[in-house]
Amino acid sequence: MAYTEEELKKELETKEYEYGFYTDIESETFPKGLNEETVIAISKRKNEPDWMLEWRINAFNAWKKMEEPDWANINYKRPDYQDISYYSAPKKKEKYKSLDEVDPELIETFNKLGISIDEQKKLSGVAVDIVMDSVSVATTFRDTLEKKGIIFCSISDAIKEHPELVKKYLGTVIPPKDNFFAALNSAVFSDGSFCYIPKGVKCPMELSTYFRINQAGTGQFERTLVIADKGSYVSYLEGCTAPSRDENQLHAACVELIALDDAEIKYSTVQNWYPGDKHGNGGVFNFVTKRGICHKNSKISWTQVETGSAITWKYPSCILKGNNSIGEFYSIAVTNNFQQADTGTKMIHIGKNTKSTIISKGISAGKSQNSYRGLVRVNPGAKNARNFSQCDSLLMGNSCGAHTFPYIEAKNNSAQIEHEATTSKIGEDQIFYCNQRGIDTEKAIALIVNGFSKEVLNKLPMEFAVEAQKLLEISLEGSVG
């Protein structure tokens, strides 16, 4: 006789977050607390030009006057912003020229994460930028990309080496005063990735950033800026992990995308920050502002698989400014145990003949709460705007919640907007059917959830899709019941 459901549950409960290790690397970490001096110190530590410091100070002054938003469908203890260290970097670092120079401990960290930098370099042809705590530690393929005129580097390097581009675009999509977390990020961001694709260039490989929070008591505030010049194309991947800790860790990132005329940006995220333990202790607070602007005939496509974090507050958005531009949002958000996610998108139709598509799949298990929150706005000038939204929720067990809050505002009579949402559970008959075909319940659930999420998984680049499928399975383990 197979083991009972109870036994299965017990076994799964003891399964731990796979990425919850901590790497013992010597770090330079700022003392806790945030004031103007901290901002100046960060800027100084990074040898930034004066204009950058000024920009940060302005953001900091704005932030001081702002209040933490409370409209989202999440409950958490507000972080004490004075009890966080705003800068932590692996020590002994000058810029690595090649991977051989990288601290072996660090290489080991990434091997554990399943990101073998060497392997990636040789096999999959993915260029990787790695941000540990607050600092970019390794960027691969830099030279190969440079030949095509593609700039792919840490944002700190970009500030120094390409100030004209950074100055021109930084904060244009997410103004420093946009919201509480964006303002905080603008003041204290320590690193992140920068990417520029020149006119007409199709980036020959996936660009990828891996983020990791390592040190205790630190916040991570990275800033990503992607500019796709006219007629160019880039596919960008982002992955995140953090060690298991009892305390909550703060992550407040900003990602700005600029798609100039006829350009296309595909931005994929697999977010697997530490979600906290099964009692709801610890876990990352993930407050992220992501937004892209589409110029004429351009396209921005956001794809996200959100399985981690104790709290997720995230709305990757598209401003469809140019005529005929296209915005897409594909999302899978899985919450288990005590996780809470409030995520969705905003599609702002400004240009004529703009189109947007939203596919959101929420899966809630355990005692978690999972909300979709979205806005589709059609401005008066946006003739012939089209939107299609579909938000499906799957509930597993009877202690979780699934919520849908779509806002639709149409101010143009030629708009065509369709929104659909459904809520369902995994049917006992589906499980029995699978069982009869020899598939055990755990595997059956994975199969059904993968089927439910398929439309979104299909949008991920190959390398990520497999990882994402595995993550879905891991995240839902122990939710049978």
């Binding site: 006789m1 197979a2 049917g427 008959d429 589906q430 029995f432 059917y433 699978c434 069982n435 009869q436 075909r437 020899g438 598939i439 055990d440 319940t441 595997k443 199969l447 059904i448 993968n450 089927g451 439910f452 999420s453 398929k454 439309e455």
Partner: protein, 245 residues
């Protein structure tokens, strides 16, 4: 192979099977007929191990092991296949993906390695050709939007892929036109050999023209009230079920 002794089963406290005795040996085809509500589908579901049904009395032995100790998937691993009267939809999971998962889980349970992709592919092609299944059909979501006939044909396709020892076909003939019926019957006949057994649950004699049974049993109010050879089915068709009551 299958031996059912004095089986009593109920659902939600309501007794449905009231003492079934049935013995199926390898190489045999049995047909179980009976009016609506006589307990035909319950019998097949209980053999497959559905948890909603309570076995109150009696036993089901499969190759001399009492099935009560095994859950649904373990029974499947032993080689019991149930073709559902109402196959379930699983959106987003393709027929191919599903059968792959199923086969590999069966193999895993029986200590075998996963079936290599090329072998799997070849087998899928071979079986789908035999059952005249279009390759486009294989990449559709399992049973989603399938017509009644497509669903049944898909069940037979899975049976052909899994090659079970015992196949129980619950009303597989209902809702099929004559061409589909022939294809389904052909699939079942292919499975027939000295080591396998088939239990056909049906309301009508029609299917038995194509799959000739060795034994015919009539189920009425939770009991087998009459058993005989294939002529019994013909007699039933002519005289109606009231005749055996």
């Amino acid at each position: 192979m299958l031996e059912i002794n004095n089986l009593h089963a109920s659902v939600d406290g309501k007794q449905i099977l009231k003492g079934i005795d049935l013995k199926v040996s390898s190489g045999e085809v049995h047909a179980i007929m009976g009016p609506n509500g006589s307990g035909k589908s319950t019998l097949s579901t209980v053999i497959a191990g559905h948890e909603d049904f309570e076995i109150d009395k009696g036993e089901i032995l499969f190759e001399d092991e009492d099935l009560i100790d095994f859950n649904t998937e373990e029974r499947a691993h032993k080689g019991i296949f149930l073709s559902f009267q109402y196959p379930v939809e699983i959106p987003g999971v393709t027929v191919t993906n599903f059968i792959k998962t199923s086969i590999n889980q069966m193999r895993k349970a029986n200590g075998l390695d996963e079936m290599p992709a090329n072998v799997m592919l070849k087998k899928i092609r071979e079986k789908s050709d035999l059952l005249k299944i279009d390759s486009k059909f294989l990449s559709r979501s399992l049973n989603e939007g399938f017509s009644g006939g497509e669903k049944k044909r898909n069940e037979i396709f899975q049976m052909a892929m899994l090659e079970p020892k015992l196949a129980i076909l619950d009303e597989t003939d209902s809702g099929l036109d004559i061409d589909a019926l022939k294809i389904v019957a052909n699939g079942v006949n292919m499975l027939r050999n000295d080591d396998t057994a088939v239990v056909l649950i049906t309301h009508y004699q029609r299917l038995l023209d194509y799959i000739v049974p060795d034994f015919v049993h009539v189920l009425s109010d939770g009991k087998i009230v009459k058993s005989g050879n294939k002529n019994l089915a013909i007699e039933l068709e002519a005289k109606g079920y009231d005749w055996v009551k």
